[in-house]
C-alpha cells in the first residue's frame, strides 16, 4: 500500500520563459525528436484550457473540501501550463513555422467537438462526467510522460536548457497533481465502464494526434528536415530521447484494472526535487 501522505498541496507557479535563444531543433541534430515534443506546444494550450473549463463546471458538484482544494490548485497549474506552451508555440511561429493551421483543428476539437454541445439537464451532466473520465485518462498519460521527461537523458543529448526546463517543470507538476482528475472522476461518478471507455478511446487517439502533429511540423519546417520514418522513432526511443512503446503500452494496461490509482505512477519525490532546482520554478514568486 503506498503512503497516503505522498501527496502535496498544489499551487500554481508564476513561471516565465525567455524563448529568444531557443532553436526550433532544440535537441541538436534531432528534428524528429524536437518536433515530437514541440507537438505539446500546439496541442496543450487548447487542451489544458479545456481541462480548466470542464473542471470549473465540476466545482459546484464537489462534496469534499480537500478535493475541492486539489481541483483549484490543479486548475491554476493547468492554466500556467497553457500559457507557457503558448509562449513556445508563438516562438515557433516567429521562427517561420506558423502552427495556426494545426492549432485551428485543435481549437475545433476542444472548443466545439468536446465543448458543451448546448446540452441541458441530465444529458449535460452526463457529458460533464464523460469528459471528466476523458481528462482522467489523459492525465494518466501526462503523469507517465511527466515522469519520463524527469528521467530521460535529454541533457546529455544537448537539449536546450530553457526548453528542457519548460518540459520538466511541466512534467513535475503533472506528477504532483496526477491524482486530482482521477479522484474527481471517482468522487462524482466512478463507474468502471465509463473509465474503460475513456481510456480505450483516449489512448490510441492521443498517440495518433501526437504522431500526426509531429509529421505536420516536420513537413512545414522551413529547415526542410528529411521525411520521418518509423525507424527514426525506434532509434530515438532506444536512446531514451522519446518515450518508447515499452513505456506507453504498459501504461495503457495499467489504467484498466479497478485497483488502479495514479499515486502508483511517477514519484512525488522526484517531482518536488526538480521543482526545487528548476530555474523557472525557483524564479517564480
Amino acid at each position: 500500500m503506498p503512503d497516503p501522505t505522498d501527496k502535496v498541496v498544489l499551487h500554481a507557479r508564476d513561471v516565465r520563459f525567455d524563448w529568444s535563444t531557443v532553436p526550433a531543433h532544440w535537441l541538436p541534430g534531432e528534428p524528429v525528436a524536437s518536433h515530437a515534443m514541440n507537438t505539446l506546444h500546439l496541442v496543450l494550450p487548447e487542451g489544458e484550457r479545456w481541462f480548466v473549463r470542464v473542471f470549473k463546471q465540476a466545482l459546484p458538484h464537489i462534496r469534499d473540501e480537500e478535493l475541492r482544494a486539489d481541483v483549484l490548485g490543479f486548475i491554476g497549474q493547468e492554466a500556467m501550463h497553457a500559457e507557457a506552451h503558448q509562449g513556445a508555440a508563438d516562438h515557433l511561429a516567429a521562427q517561420g513555422l506558423d502552427p495556426a493551421p494545426f492549432v485551428a483543428q485543435i481549437e475545433w476539437l476542444f472548443r466545439s467537438l468536446l465543448g458543451d454541445r448546448d446540452l441541458t439537464g441530465p444529458a449535460e451532466h452526463q457529458w460533464l462526467l464523460e469528459r471528466l473520465s476523458v481528462i482522467a485518462a489523459i492525465e494518466h498519460f501526462t503523469a507517465v510522460l511527466g515522469h519520463w521527461v524527469l528521467t530521460a537523458p535529454l541533457e546529455s543529448a544537448g537539449a536546450d536548457p530553457t526548453m528542457l526546463d519548460l518540459l520538466r517543470w511541466h512534467g513535475a507538476e503533472e506528477v504532483e497533481h496526477r491524482s486530482v482528475a482521477f479522484d474527481l472522476y471517482m468522487h462524482l461518478d466512478g463507474r468502471q465502464g465509463r473509465r474503460l471507455r475513456a481510456m480505450v478511446i483516449v489512448g490510441p487517439l492521443l498517440m495518433w494526434m501526437l504522431v500526426r502533429c509531429t509529421r505536420w511540423l516536420l513537413a512545414h519546417d522551413p529547415q526542410r528536415p528529411e521525411r520521418p520514418r518509423w525507424r527514426d522513432y525506434r532509434r530515438l526511443a532506444r536512446r531514451g530521447l522519446l518515450p518508447g512503446p515499452r513505456e506507453l503500452l504498459p501504461a495503457f494496461w495499467r489504467y484498466l484494472p479497478r485497483s488502479y490509482h495514479p499515486r502508483d505512477e511517477g514519484s512525488t519525490e522526484l517531482a518536488v526535487a526538480y521543482l526545487a532546482s528548476s530555474p523557472a520554478a525557483k524564479a517564480a514568486g
Binding site: 464537489i62 478535493l67 463507474r191
Partner: protein
C-alpha cells in the same frame, strides 16, 4: 469558421490539414467517434451513483498548552477517545478552525512517529490577523478544536546533504525535518535565527553540536548560507525578507513554503453586486473581492490568489475596475483575487 451542431447531430469538420479543398477527413472520423461517445454518455443517466459527501474534519481536544519561549506556546492536540491520528510527514501542516471561526494553518512540529498527538506552536502577533491572539488568550486545555489535514505544502525529500534555515517561528516545519535527517544519517546543518535566544522555541530539542548554529539578530543571506555542505538542498522557513534574501543568493536546490496570497494593503472598502440583480456583498478594506465573492458563491473558481493564473477572471457589468494582475482574456473583466473597485460599487456579470 462555424462548426455548428448541438447534441450528436451532423458535424462539419475543419478544413483539410494539408490544404486540400475539403473538410479534414481524419477530423470527420474523430467527430464520429466523439458523437458516438456523446450518445453513449446519455445512457449514464441510469444507475447514476450519488455523490457521497466526504467529511474530513477532525475534532481534537487540546491536551496541553506549553510555553515554549517568550510569546510562543505549543498545543498538543489529540483524539478525545485516544484514537490514532492520520499520519503526516515533515513539512505537514494542519488547518485549525478557532472558536471564532477563523481558520489558520500551523506547521506540525512534533514527532511523526507519535500517532496519538499533534503538536503545533504559535507565536503571539498582537497586530496580526487575530488568530494568534485568540490561541494565546482563549484556547485552553480541554477545549475541542476542529482541525483539517494534515496536508503537506512543504515536502521534505531526498537524502541530503541539507542546509536548514529557520527564522523565528519558522523553526516549526524545520524541526521535524532536522530530526528526520538525523535519523536517516544524512549530512545536514541548521542555521536558526531569532531576535533573542529567549524568543526562540525548541532550542533544547536540537542536537547540541557544531551542526547547529544559533544566531541572534538578522544575518545576511551569505552568512545564513555559509555552512551549507557541498551540493546541499536548502530548506528555508522564515519571515518574507529572509526568504527573499536567501532566494536571491542561493543557486542550488531551494525548498521553501510559498505564501498563497499577499495581504491587502491600502485597500478601500466597496460594495460588489454579484450578478445584475444579484446579492450585494460588502468588500472590506482588508479583504479581496474574491473573499467576498466566495461568501455568496462558494463554488466560484480561483487558484493562485496572486493575479497571475487568470482562473478567477469574471466579467464586469458596471463600475470602474482598479485592475491588477495579468492581462485579461476579455475586456470589461477583472481578476477578483487582486483587483478592486475604483469607486464604491462594482457589478459582476456572473
Amino acid at each position: 469558421m462555424v462548426f455548428s451542431g448541438a447534441g450528436s447531430g451532423d458535424w462539419s469538420a475543419p478544413p483539410d490539414l494539408y490544404g486540400r479543398p475539403r473538410a479534414d477527413r481524419a477530423m470527420l472520423g474523430v467527430a464520429r467517434v466523439v458523437s458516438g461517445v456523446l450518445r453513449l454518455s446519455r445512457r449514464g443517466v441510469r444507475r447514476q451513483p450519488v455523490v457521497r459527501p466526504v467529511d474530513r474534519d477532525l475534532r481534537l481536544v487540546v491536551r496541553a498548552v506549553t510555553a515554549e519561549a517568550d510569546g510562543v506556546v505549543s498545543l498538543r492536540l489529540a483524539d478525545p477517545a485516544g484514537a490514532a491520528l492520520p499520519p503526516w510527514r515533515p513539512g505537514g501542516h494542519l488547518d485549525v478552525v478557532l472558536p471564532s471561526g477563523r481558520c489558520r494553518q500551523y506547521s506540525l512540529c512534533g514527532d511523526p512517529a507519535d500517532r496519538l498527538g499533534y503538536r503545533i506552536a504559535v507565536r503571539l502577533v498582537p497586530n496580526g490577523g487575530g488568530g494568534s491572539v485568540e490561541i494565546h488568550s482563549s484556547v485552553g486545555v480541554g477545549d475541542v478544536l476542529t482541525v483539517r489535514g494534515p496536508r503537506t505544502a512543504f515536502p521534505f525529500v531526498g537524502r541530503g546533504p541539507y542546509l536548514f534555515v529557520a527564522g523565528g517561528i519558522g523553526i516549526t516545519p524545520i524541526l521535524p525535518m532536522v530530526h528526520a535527517a538525523e535519523r536517516a544519517g544524512a549530512d545536514w546543518r541548521l542555521v536558526y535565527t531569532g531576535r533573542t535566544r529567549a524568543s526562540m522555541p525548541f532550542l533544547d530539542e536540537l542536537p547540541g553540536d557544531e551542526r547547529v548554529s544559533i544566531v541572534e539578530g538578522m544575518p545576511t543571506a551569505a552568512e545564513l548560507l555559509a555552512t551549507a555542505p557541498e551540493g546541499a538542498s536548502v530548506y528555508l522557513c522564515g519571515p518574507p525578507p529572509m526568504v527573499a534574501a536567501v532566494r536571491g543568493e542561493w543557486g542550488g536546490a531551494l525548498h521553501f513554503e510559498r505564501f498563497s496570497a499577499a495581504p491587502v494593503v491600502n485597500g478601500k472598502p466597496f460594495e460588489m453586486q454579484v450578478g445584475v440583480g444579484g446579492p450585494v456583498v460588502p468588500v472590506a478594506a482588508d479583504e479581496t473581492a474574491l473573499t467576498a465573492l466566495l461568501r455568496v458563491r462558494p463554488d466560484a473558481a480561483y487558484s493562485c490568489r496572486q493575479g497571475f493564473c487568470g482562473t478567477c477572471e469574471v466579467k464586469v457589468a458596471a463600475g470602474a475596475v482598479d485592475g491588477r494582475g495579468r492581462a485579461l482574456s476579455e475586456e470589461d473583466s477583472m481578476l477578483v483575487c487582486v483587483s478592486r473597485a475604483v469607486g464604491d460599487r462594482l457589478v459582476l456579470d456572473v
